[in-house]
C-alpha cells in the first residue's frame, strides 16, 4: 500500500476512534445527567437574598427572615437556615471540624430523614435550649460517648442522630448530609456567632408550599416587599432549578460536541472506505497479476484485510492517545460531569478500530479478489 | 552484370587487378556470392569499353605482367549517379509477385495450399537467415546489414502471407 494511503487510513481511523470516544463520553454524561434535569420538585422552594447568578447569596438578617416567613400563607412550612462551614467543635478531649447549621425545628420536614433520638422541638427552640442533632458520620466516630458537644464556650446536648440525603438540587451547593451539627437558629445567632438578629447570617429560607407555584410565591413576596423600605432583592428558586440552569448550559455544549463528533465519525467512516477502495483500484494490475499467478480470491481478501487491519491497529493506538488528551482537556473544563476515560475505554478504542478496520476492509478486499486477471493485465502501462 | 557497380566502387577506392577485385568482392559478400574469373573479366571489359575504367600493365620481375585497373573520372561520375537513389520501385520485385498474379486463376483448395506453402517457405528462410546472422560476429559489417535487411523483409512477407491466408480462409 502506498505510504500516502497508509497514512490517510491511519489518520482516518484515529479520527474515528476519537470521535467515538467523545460520542460515548458525551452520551454517557448526557444520559446520567439527564435524570437530574428532570428533578424539579414541585411545591418546594428556596427564598434567598441574592444576585443575578444563582450562586450569588448575600444573606439576610433573622429579622427579615421572620418577616418573610410571616407573609407565607397558612399551611406552608418553612425554615430559616444559617451555616458556618468548617467550624471547630470539641467532643470530649478532641477537636473536630464540622458544619454548624442553625435551623428551625421544622427543618426535618424538608428532607426524608431518619432520626435516632429526636431533632430539637419547637419548645426547645423557643426556650433557646442548648440542644443539637448530629449527622450519622459524627456519631459513628464517637459512638455512644457522644453526649455533649462544645462549640466555642457553649455546651450542647446531643439529642439525636440524623441520617439521609440532604443534598439539595437547589440554589446553592450546600450539602448538610455529612459532618453537620444542627441547632436552633436563635441559639446559633446568640451563642455561636454572638450576633444579634440583624446580622445577615441567614443563607436561605426553605419553603414547602404544595399549593403554590413559583409564580405565586414570587407575587406574594413582591406584594409584601413593596411596602418595605430599602426592599432587598429576594429570589425564589424551585428545588432543582439553579443546578439545572448550569447543568443545561453544560449539557448543551456537550450536545454540540456530540453532534460534531458524530459528523466526524461518519466522515471518518466514509474516508476509510474511500481510501481502502482507492488503494485497491490503484493497484488493480498488481492484484490481477497475483490472481494470474495463482492467488485464489481468499488469498487476496486475506492480503488486503491484513494490510488494512495493520493500519487500523496503528490508527487505534493513535486514536486512543489523542482521545486521552481530549478527554483530559474536557475533564479539566467540565470536570464533575464527565464520564471516566481509563484502561478499559482505551482498550475498547483499539478494539473498535480493529473492528471498524475489518468491516471496512470487506468491500475493497472483495473487489480486489474479483479482479479479472485477463482484463487487468490487458491494459497498457 | 549486376556486379559492375560494386567493382567500380571497389576501384574508386584503389586500383586493383582482376584477382584482387574478385577477392575483395567475395569478402564483402562473406562467401554468399562466389564469382568466377570469366564473369570478372567480362565485367571489367564491359566497364573499360564504357570508359568507366582504364587499365595498364605493371611490369613484375619474376612473374608475368599483370593488368591493373583503375577508375576514370567518367567512372566516378557514373558511380556517384548510381549510388543515388532514383524514384523507382519495382512492384514485381521477385518471383512471388508473379505467382501472386497467377493465384486467382487456380482453384481455392490449391491456392490455400500454395499460400501455406509460401508461409512455410518464409519460416525456413527466416530460420536460415537468423542462423547466418548469429554466426556473423561483426555486427558492423556489410554482410550483417545485408542479412538484417533480408530478415526484416522476410518477416514483413510473413505478416503479409498471414493476411493472405486470413483472407483466403474468410473467403472459403
Amino acid at each position: 500500500m502506498k505510504p500516502l494511503y497508509r497514512r490517510l487510513l491511519i489518520v482516518g481511523i484515529a479520527m474515528g476512534v476519537v470521535a467515538t470516544s467523545l460520542i460515548i463520553g458525551v452520551g454517557q454524561t448526557l444520559f446520567l445527567q439527564r435524570s437530574r434535569i428532570g428533578n424539579l420538585v414541585s411545591g418546594a422552594y428556596w427564598i434567598y437574598h441574592g444576585g443575578d447568578s444563582p450562586n450569588t447569596i448575600y444573606g439576610m438578617s433573622l429579622d427579615l427572615a421572620r418577616t418573610v416567613q410571616s407573609w407565607l400563607p397558612k399551611g406552608t412550612a418553612s425554615s430559616a437556615v444559617a451555616v458556618d462551614y468548617g467550624r471547630s467543635i470539641r467532643i470530649g478531649p478532641e477537636f473536630y471540624q464540622s458544619n454548624v447549621v442553625g435551623t428551625d425545628f421544622t427543618f426535618l420536614q424538608f428532607f426524608e430523614l431518619e432520626v435516632e433520638g429526636r431533632f430539637f422541638t419547637e419548645e426547645e427552640q423557643e426556650t433557646r435550649k442548648r440542644v443539637c442533632a448530629v449527622t450519622s458520620d459524627i456519631y459513628e466516630l464517637f459512638g455512644s460517648d457522644l453526649k455533649f458537644i462544645t462549640i466555642g464556650d457553649a455546651e450542647f446536648e446531643v439529642v439525636g442522630v440524623v441520617r439521609g440525603e440532604m443534598y439539595r438540587q437547589g440554589a446553592m451547593p450546600l450539602d448538610y448530609s455529612t459532618n453537620s451539627v444542627f441547632l436552633p437558629i436563635e441559639v446559633y445567632y446568640s451563642d455561636i456567632q454572638n450576633e444579634d438578629s440583624l446580622a445577615g447570617l441567614v443563607a436561605e429560607i426553605a419553603v414547602l408550599a404544595p399549593e403554590l407555584t413559583k409564580g405565586d410565591l414570587q407575587r406574594v413576596l413582591s406584594a409584601n416587599l413593596s411596602s418595605l423600605e430599602n426592599a432587598p432583592s429576594l429570589k425564589v428558586l424551585q428545588w432543582g432549578e439553579a443546578d439545572r440552569t448550569e447543568l443545561v448550559r453544560v449539557l448543551l455544549a456537550l450536545t454540540a460536541i456530540f453532534l460534531v463528533a458524530f459528523v466526524v465519525f461518519l466522515l471518518a467512516g466514509l474516508n476509510i472506505v474511500q481510501i481502502a477502495s482507492a488503494s485497491v483500484y490503484d493497484r488493480h494490475r498488481v492484484f490481477g497479476l497475483k490472481a494470474a499467478l495463482g492467488a485464489a480470491p481468499g488469498d487476496i481478501v486475506k492480503e488486503v484485510s491484513q494490510e488494512i487491519l495493520g493500519c487500523a491497529l496503528q490508527g487505534g493506538y493513535l486514536g486512543v492517545v489523542v482521545a486521552g488528551i481530549v478527554n483530559t482537556l474536557l475533564n479539566h473544563y467540565v470536570g464533575k460531569y464527565w464520564a471516566a476515560f481509563n484502561m478499559v475505554t482505551a482498550l475498547a478504542g483499539v478494539v473498535l478500530a480493529l473492528v471498524v478496520g475489518w468491516i471496512t476492509s470487506l468491500i475493497p478486499a472483495r473487489k480486489a479478489a474479483m479482479i479479472d486477471p485477463v482484463k487487468a493485465l490487458r491494459e497498457e502501462r | 552484370m549486376a556486379v559492375k557497380h560494386v567493382f567500380l566502387a571497389l576501384l574508386a577506392k584503389q586500383p586493383m587487378h582482376g584477382y584482387e577485385l574478385k577477392n575483395a568482392f567475395e569478402e564483402i559478400a562473406a562467401g554468399s556470392w562466389p564469382l568466377n574469373f570469366g564473369q570478372v573479366y567480362q565485367t571489367l571489359n564491359r566497364l573499360e569499353r564504357d570508359g568507366f575504367i582504364e587499365s595498364f600493365e605493371v611490369v613484375q620481375e619474376d612473374k608475368p605482367d599483370k593488368k591493373v585497373y583503375q577508375i576514370t573520372e567518367d567512372g566516378r561520375d557514373h558511380l556517384k549517379e548510381w549510388l543515388q537513389q532514383d524514384d523507382h520501385w519495382n512492384l514485381f520485385f521477385d518471383e512471388q509477385a508473379l505467382r501472386l498474379m497467377a493465384l486467382p486463376l487456380v482453384d481455392s483448395a490449391l491456392s490455400g495450399e500454395i499460400l501455406k506453402g509460401y508461409r512455410n517457405f518464409i519460416l525456413r528462410v527466416i530460420a536460415g537467415l537468423t542462423k547466418m546472422l548469429e554466426e556473423e560476429k561483426d555486427t558492423t559489417s556489410t554482410y550483417y546489414a545485408l542479412l538484417e535487411r533480408n530478415i526484416l523483409r522476410a518477416e514483413a512477407d510473413l505478416t503479409w502471407i498471414n493476411r493472405m491466408i486470413e483472407r483466403w480462409e474468410r473467403h472459403a
Partner: protein, 237 residues
C-alpha cells in the same frame, strides 16, 4: 496432457457479441513446443488464456491431465494455474516494489509451500537461468532481457508442466529475444515441458516444433514447423 474439445468463447451480448474462439479442438502432449500465429484479433491471446485457466470457455470441454477443468470455480482455477502453469508476458509484469527474489517467489505464496523454503527455491530457479546474482536488485535496475529472465524464473518456480508465453520477445531486441527463446527450447527438450507461445515473430515461430495458425477464432492450420535448408542465391545465377 491437455485437450480442448469444441471450445468456444463469446464476449458480450446480443448485437455486440464477439466470438473470440469458435469450436476449437486441440491436443497437446508433453515435450511439445507450440507456436501460435495469426493477425491481431484472431484469438491467440484468448486461446492462451483459456488453456492457462485465466479465462473460462463459454462452451466446450477442456481436459487437463485427465481432469475436466472447463468450468471450475475461481478458487480452483487459481490453484490449477498456480500448480500447472507458468506465465510469461510481453510486458514482463514484474512488481516494481519487490526485489527480484520476491518477484520470483510470488507464486510460492499461494502454493502452500512453507515460507522457509521460498528463498531456496527462488534462488534455485534463478541459478538455472544464470541470474542468481540479481536476486536482491529491483526490476527497474535490470535490462529488458534480464527482466524477462526473471519473469521466466517466476514462471518456473513452482515447476509447472506448461509454460504459456504471450509475445515474450515483443519488448526485446533480436539478440535477447533469441536467448529467451533458447531458454524456452531447453525447457521443452530437457524437461519435457509444454511451451505454448503466441508470436508475430517468424524467427521465434520457426524455432517451435508445431505451428498453429489462427483466423477469426479458429485454428485453420495445425502442422509441424517446416525445417530444411533454403538455398540462398544471388543475381548472377
Amino acid at each position: 496432457m491437455l485437450e480442448l474439445n469444441g471450445i468456444s468463447k463469446v464476449y458480450g451480448q446480443g448485437a455486440s457479441q464477439v466470438e473470440a474462439l469458435r469450436d476449437v479442438d486441440l491436443n497437446i502432449s508433453p515435450g511439445e513446443f507450440v507456436a501460435v500465429m495469426g493477425t491481431s484479433g484472431c484469438g491467440k491471446t484468448t486461446l492462451l488464456n483459456i488453456i492457462g485457466c485465466l479465462d473460462t470457455a463459454t462452451s466446450g470441454i477442456y481436459t487437463l491431465q485427465g481432469k475436466d477443468v472447463s468450468r471450475l470455480s475461481l478458487k480452483d482455477k487459481a490453484r490449477v494455474r498456480n500448480k500447472t502453469f507458468g506465465f510469461v508476458f510481453q510486458a514482463f509484469n514484474l512488481l516494481a516494489e519487490y526485489t527480484v527474489l520476491e518477484n520470483v517467489t510470488l507464486p510460492l505464496r499461494y502454493s502452500g509451500v512453507p515460507k522457509r523454503r521460498w528463498k531456496e527455491q527462488g534462488l534455485g530457479v534463478l541459478e538455472r537461468l544464470g541470474i542468481a546474482d540479481l536476486s536482491s536488485r529491483y526490476p527497474d535496475q535490470l535490462s529488458g532481457g534480464q527482466q524477462q529472465r526473471v519473469a521466466i524464473a517466476r514462471a518456473l518456480v513452482n515447476d509447472p508442466e506448461i509454460i504459456i508465453a504471450d509475445e515474450p520477445t515483443g519488448n526485446l531486441d533480436t539478440g535477447t529475444g533469441r536467448e529467451i527463446v533458447s531458454v524456452l527450447c531447453d525447457l521443452v527438450e530437457k524437461q519435457k515441458k509444454i511451451v505454448i507461445l503466441a508470436t508475430h515473430d517468424g524467427a521465434v515461430a520457426s524455432r517451435a516444433q508445431r505451428l498453429l495458425q489462427m483466423v477469426d477464432g479458429r485454428i485453420i492450420d495445425d502442422s509441424t514447423v517446416p525445417t530444411g535448408a533454403v538455398s540462398f542465391s544471388h543475381p548472377a545465377e
